[in-house]
Symmetry: D2
């Protein structure tokens, strides 16, 4: 199968991205990562003790994975820029997921500030993946600013509420040439599967896995579901009908027998 997702010049076979937050024990992360099949993993830079030789979330990230540091905790463009530069300087690579959130109740991303960061960091050579509210114009602004993908939310962070913004995500997918990666809110594999069926390029799932009673098993479930949704998108779903339609002709079975 030759269906790869390209982000920042990197070819990815897996369309599930995972996170590192909310695990009761960070030592679970390698098993979760392996079960999920994910190749990209995001980590909040503030959780990384850049100076510590050990005892760090970074110790638990499998070496083969693409690291996607994020700017969680940033409340302004300036803070996000600073975090991104620190991440790169610390050897975390040039991928960066932008989160600029100044509202602590709903944790929604600030589109205007996010666009500012994106423009600055893209010019500095970062591969910028901005977390965003699914808004057509914000997505276009981010694309113009040099984003490598857009990451609209399905529901507020950590809620497991699913694909509540479906209407607007469908519009972004219709409108954008950039990959649309659904991030936040996906609590069950069926929801990630549906996002993929709609044509999302990938899904990022953190709480949906970490809040499960069995995160490793749930990671495998999300991996399968994302693959299923992608395959279904490529296969093309049949039309939905208003009224029933028999799987085979309804007449003539017993009548036709001698």
């Amino acid at each position: 199968m030759d269906d790869r997702l390209e982000i920042g010049g990197v070819q990815l076979d897996s369309r599930l991205f995972i996170g590192t937050g909310k695990y009761g024990d960070d030592a679970l992360i390698p098993a979760v990562a392996e079960a999920s099949g994910a190749q990209v993993i995001t980590v909040a830079l503030r959780r990384v003790d850049l100076g510590a030789p050990t005892g760090n979330v970074m110790d638990h990230i499998p070496s083969g994975m693409r690291l996607l540091p994020n700017t969680s905790g940033a409340r302004t463009a300036e803070e996000a820029v600073r975090i991104a530069r620190l991440a790169r300087a610390a050897g975390c690579g040039d991928w960066i997921k932008i989160e600029v959130i100044s509202d602590s109740r709903h944790l929604l991303p600030d589109g205007y500030e996010t666009a500012r960061v994106t423009e600055i960091l893209a010019k500095e050579g970062f591969v910028v993946l901005p977390y965003m509210n699914p808004d057509l114009y914000v997505a276009r602004t981010l694309a113009d600013a040099g984003a490598a993908a857009v990451m609209p939310l399905g529901a507020p962070i950590g809620t497991n509420r699913g694909l509540r913004t479906k209407e607007m995500i469908a519009i972004l997918i219709d409108d954008q040439r950039l990959p649309v990666i659904v991030d936040a809110g996906l609590g069950r594999p069926s929801q990630a599967c549906e996002a993929m069926e709609m044509g999302a390029a990938a899904c990022l799932v953190n709480t949906g896995i970490a809040s499960s009673a069995d995160p490793v098993r749930m990671a495998r479930a999300f991996g399968d579901a994302v693959r299923a949704g992608r395959e279904a998108f490529l296969a093309g779903a049949g039309a939905t009908r208003t009224t029933a339609s028999a799987s085979s002709p309804l007449t003539g079975f017993l009548e036709a027998r001698p």
Copy 2:
């Protein structure tokens, strides 16, 4: 993984059942079956030319699969009973999916007639899997009558409308010791995935696969999705929250730095 579904004394690894109707070309069936991973395949007995040496839908059913003949076309209990006996006499085995449908517009199953057939055939040693409207009392009656599973519909046959009867299927799952196999209406893998997340024992998908532009690929997608949904059910989904919850502490990143 030791999570097998037992039906009529048979252990199944795959929880996706597939059908044989509506394929433009029956020669697609082996590839669909393989891609799906299914171990059980249903066929309308009236589509089987019992006397023909070749040119038959049966020619396309992989030999290793468990055959589930169905009584599609039966309008009364008597017709269904007759079809079931013919199937067994013709060497189709003793599994039988009961469909008794007298309404040709909505193709909904008649619970009362279905219960009658189930009782008769169970006594004759058939492994009876009745297609049904998700109704608590009908399910109990079928269980008492000796059904090996119940097969409630997600939506009318052939509609691809999804899990429209979710409320009642959840109640059957809560109430029944028998496996609850969602049958009919599942048009996209995410819908089958959701049924499995709810605790369904399996899903039967025919139109959802056959009506795809690429049935083989769609079969693989449904296989992955059903597995994902089962894994998620076993893992246990995290709670849904009303308001947002950060993946990691939101304060103190930049402030704490020297």
Copy 3:
């Protein structure tokens, strides 16, 4: 407006039916009834102390309303028949809402028993309104047995979960000549409104009103919503479009000005 609902030869202007259960204080009932505009009110006969001169729920039922006694508490056809006869003998009239429920967890109606009662009571001259799971064949059986209307549930009793059985209720409305009255589960006026938009003949609401912090106000809300839904059904809703459509031409405003 000449749009009346006829049940058992009686013309009704209001398509909202109300109940008498779960009010903290039965003395609220007259104000609720007036605010709702309802002309039909159901009461569980077992709540009626047939021998008591006062202190009875019946004391609170406005005299002008059509009484619809119900057989709540009946677990078999025989019990329901006995309750119905007691109700008529006690002067409650010949309308009867059949509830036969033997499952105390989900409180779902038993279709088979309900059909038996309906047949018996219709022959005795009752105006029979059976509460039912929305099942096409059960509805037809009830119609054949002489029911004056069918009363499918929207969701289990007392849940306020809304119109969860929409798919099947639409099929009943498509199939039945009898009035289809949605009963149980409607917790908010928008849900009753939607049922009416689909072509339901009426809605019965009890918990949705009684569980509100202000039942009188909520009763008025349900009355307005049912009327709105009926009007919308008669007016005919416009088509739903996939993509946007401007309310007025989008070009040429400023350009055309000198």
Copy 4:
């Protein structure tokens, strides 16, 4: 009832706003307006022939209604500002609904441009009601810029798709002190009713009424539904339960009888 909506110092009894677009015949407008009970009506200024003595959509707007000119057709802040000023100069009053839309496929509002217009016009003394994508930060920006209300969309203009943005509208209502008026996409009264139950301050409906086969009747339906939803919000809906709950005690009816 003392529940009035105040916008720009004006007290409104009706919480339904209507439009003037898409009527086959503008002569229907007075009857629609009367049936709806609306006190506010929006009109696209470009549809107004400011110089014409007759033959104008304005001729059909009832004299007692509050006029809400809108800037439909504006693609930039500058165009919207110009239209607003023209409207006021032409005697249309100082209320203005801002629409800045540069995407002609989805007709979604541009939040950034809308905020610019709002700031300019609020300073000029207009009562500014901006049409917007439901975004927390945009709403706050509009509030800071002096908007009199915010008007988030339920679905793209003219689609009749309903309250697809429910998740985000709930957040705006939770966050905002300004009235939240749901505008666009509401195709059926039940959808407007639901928006009001959630705590929306009002709804603006145009296509939902104009595309009905009987716009006058549909206008009345929307008027009733909006009132119902508001009453339900004020009354407070009862809790939703997962499992059934009897309306009255389920035991002891027949048993207790002698």
